[in-house]
């Protein structure tokens, strides 16, 4: 037995190595299952829907006949609704995050608020739908126009607000305190520090959170069905108080028809939904990159 060939140790080492290999294998199987099932789903949708995807599909209104039905009101409705939602959720969410991080005293009340914002992010979306139906569509119906685009956007804004607030807070918290102190030491007011240093520095993180929120909202169906977005819309929204539909609702509607031609429409709709979602994510990555470059100078 030499120093570098201890048989007892070597036998033990072989067992340790084997355990390591086994764990590696388990992890590999896990990721294979996850990726393959996703890829299969995606391929299945492509196989069913690609043939149906054409200009007519993108520019037509729904129809009783599957071959003449189109996705246009749903696409436009989704884009309008998400755009409006960002208009409401971004300033309010980022404003709340700035207040909580930069102004609010740290005490039990702000702790309680923080915990509850995290809880709100986990509330099932149908609950938000019920809230939207009662408050925005009925109580405020005179202003929102009832089951309208505005009601949908406000409800969705409430739904994604916790995501926006939490991610904006994380981003603001990641701003080095030395930058705040430097600015305050130069005689800056709180607002000047926030406007010129904290917000630009936190912007990539805030944008990422907002895009996550948009991605979540664009696929949401339940709260919109609850507030009464239509399933058969043969017109484009012409104002905030107009009735509307969105992509997931239209897809759901087509899938629940018995005719298989409508199922092809649904598959094509899913492809469009995914494409829009991915382009929005790409835009977010791009914006984030641009802001980060600007910080590096």
């Amino acid at each position: 037995m030499t120093t570098l060939h201890d048989t007892v140790f070597e036998a033990q080492l072989a067992r340790r190595r084997l355990k390591g290999r086994l764990f590696e294998l388990v992890a590999l199987i896990a990721i294979t299952i996850a990726l393959t099932s996703l890829a299969l789903l995606f391929l299945d949708v492509l196989y069913d829907g690609l043939g149906r995807l054409n200009w007519q599909f993108l520019t037509s209104y729904p129809s009783r006949r599957a071959s003449r039905a189109g996705f246009l009101p749903a696409i436009v409705g989704s884009i309008y609704m998400v755009g409006l939602m960002v208009l409401f959720a971004f300033p309010v969410g980022v404003g709340a995050a700035i207040y909580l991080e930069e102004y609010a005293p740290k005490n039990w009340l702000t702790d309680l608020i923080q915990i509850n914002i995290a809880n709100l992010a986990g509330v099932p979306s149908i609950i938000y739908g019920l809230l939207g139906l009662e408050f925005f569509a009925r109580v405020l119906g005179a202003w929102t126009g009832g089951r309208s685009l505005l009601t949908g956007a406000l409800t969705m804004a409430l739904l994604v607000m916790p995501i926006v607030i939490i991610s904006a807070r994380e981003a603001i918290r990641a701003v080095p305190n030395s930058i705040r102190l430097a600015a305050i030491g130069l005689g800056a007011t709180r607002w000047q520090v926030v406007r010129d240093h904290v917000l630009p520095y936190a912007m990539p993180g805030i944008l990422t959170g907002t895009i996550l929120a948009v991605s979540r909202a664009i696929g949401e169906t339940a709260p919109l069905i609850t507030i009464g977005a239509l399933t058969y819309v043969a017109f484009l929204p012409d104002g905030l108080r107009s009735q509307f539909t969105v992509m997931p609702i239209q897809i759901f509607n087509w899938i629940s028809r018995p005719q298989s031609a409508f199922h092809e429409n649904a598959a094509a709709g899913i492809i469009v939904l995914l494409a829009i979602l991915l382009s929005m994510n790409a835009l977010a990555v791009f914006l984030r990159y641009r802001f980060e470059q600007r910080l590096k100078g």
Binding site: P105, L181, I184, L186, G187, Y201, G297
Partner: protein, 266 residues
């Protein structure tokens, strides 16, 4: 009561003055019965062992401690005889007159030009910005090194250059006093020397109060020195001796000062 080895400097105009200053962080006492005089156009050094409250005292003079919740300050701190903590004094105005350079260089993640222009702009500077940027960089002995890349990022500068940029940024808002919290402790000896030379230039126009761990540095650069130490019950820091630097280092009156500067302390 004023400690017996702290004397008001003779024949000097006093800019900042601390009388019987005490400071608590919540229940924790950090400073007790501090007396200090900062004479105009002189460099005053605060020396003493770690944790004796040097930085805490420094931050009292530009009300930086206001940012920490639960801080209570007692006693009187005056600027040209005016109480810095009077109800009608806005801390933002205090910091505009009494600038600060931090221990670690902390330039903004923006261009060199913008680092200097920002402070001036928010303080309502209306003159020629290019001139102000050049003048500030020249005063901070940085102009020749950066004049060709004013619009590139300040983060690309070396540590020593960043610290001189932070000094230039402070000068640009034309304060009367510059507080420096161990400005060279994160720098190498050459960069440190440059900062020290710069301080000698600056004291012709500015009053400087500097915290330093480095006693040679205090002896080299300062005109007056305040020796800080924990009180006898070791709970709070205080100034035990203050006087001309030469006197503190050659004829200290307090035994603890002598022990500390000759390296026999603790």
């Amino acid at each position: 009561m004023k400690p017996k080895h702290v004397d008001m400097p003779k024949n000097e105009e006093i800019v900042l003055q601390a009388e019987e200053v005490g400071l608590h962080y919540g229940p924790k006492e950090a400073l007790r019965d501090v007396w200090l005089y900062v004479p105009k156009h002189k460099i005053t050094a605060l020396i003493g062992p770690s944790g004796c409250g040097k930085s805490t005292l420094l931050r009292c003079f530009n009300r930086m401690n206001d940012l920490i919740p639960d801080v209570r300050i007692s006693g009187r701190i005056t600027y040209h005889g005016e109480d810095l903590y009077a109800d009608d004094v806005d801390p933002v105005e205090v910091r505009r007159r009494i600038g600060m350079v931090f221990q670690k260089p902390n330039p903004f993640p923006k261009s060199i030009y913008e680092n200097i222009a920002w402070g001036a702009r928010i303080n309502g500077y209306k003159g020629n910005m290019d001139e102000l940027v050049e003048r500030s960089l020249r005063q901070a002995a940085l102009w020749d090194e950066v004049k060709d890349r004013l619009h590139s990022s300040a983060l690309a500068l070396s540590g020593g250059q960043q610290q001189r940029l932070c000094i230039a940024r402070t000068i640009a808002i034309e304060p009367e006093v510059i507080l420096m919290d161990e400005p060279a402790s994160a720098l190498d000896p050459i960069a440190t020397l440059k900062i020290e030379d710069l301080m000698q230039e600056l004291k012709q126009n500015y009053t400087i109060l500097i915290v330093t761990h480095n006693m040679q540095q205090a002896a080299r650069v300062s005109d007056y020195t305040a020796m800080m130490m924990l009180s006898d019950d070791r709970k709070a820091g205080t100034v035990i001796e203050f006087g001309p630097t030469e006197q503190i280092f050659t004829r200290p009156r307090d035994q603890r000062t002598e022990d500390y500067i000759t390296g026999r302390f603790g």
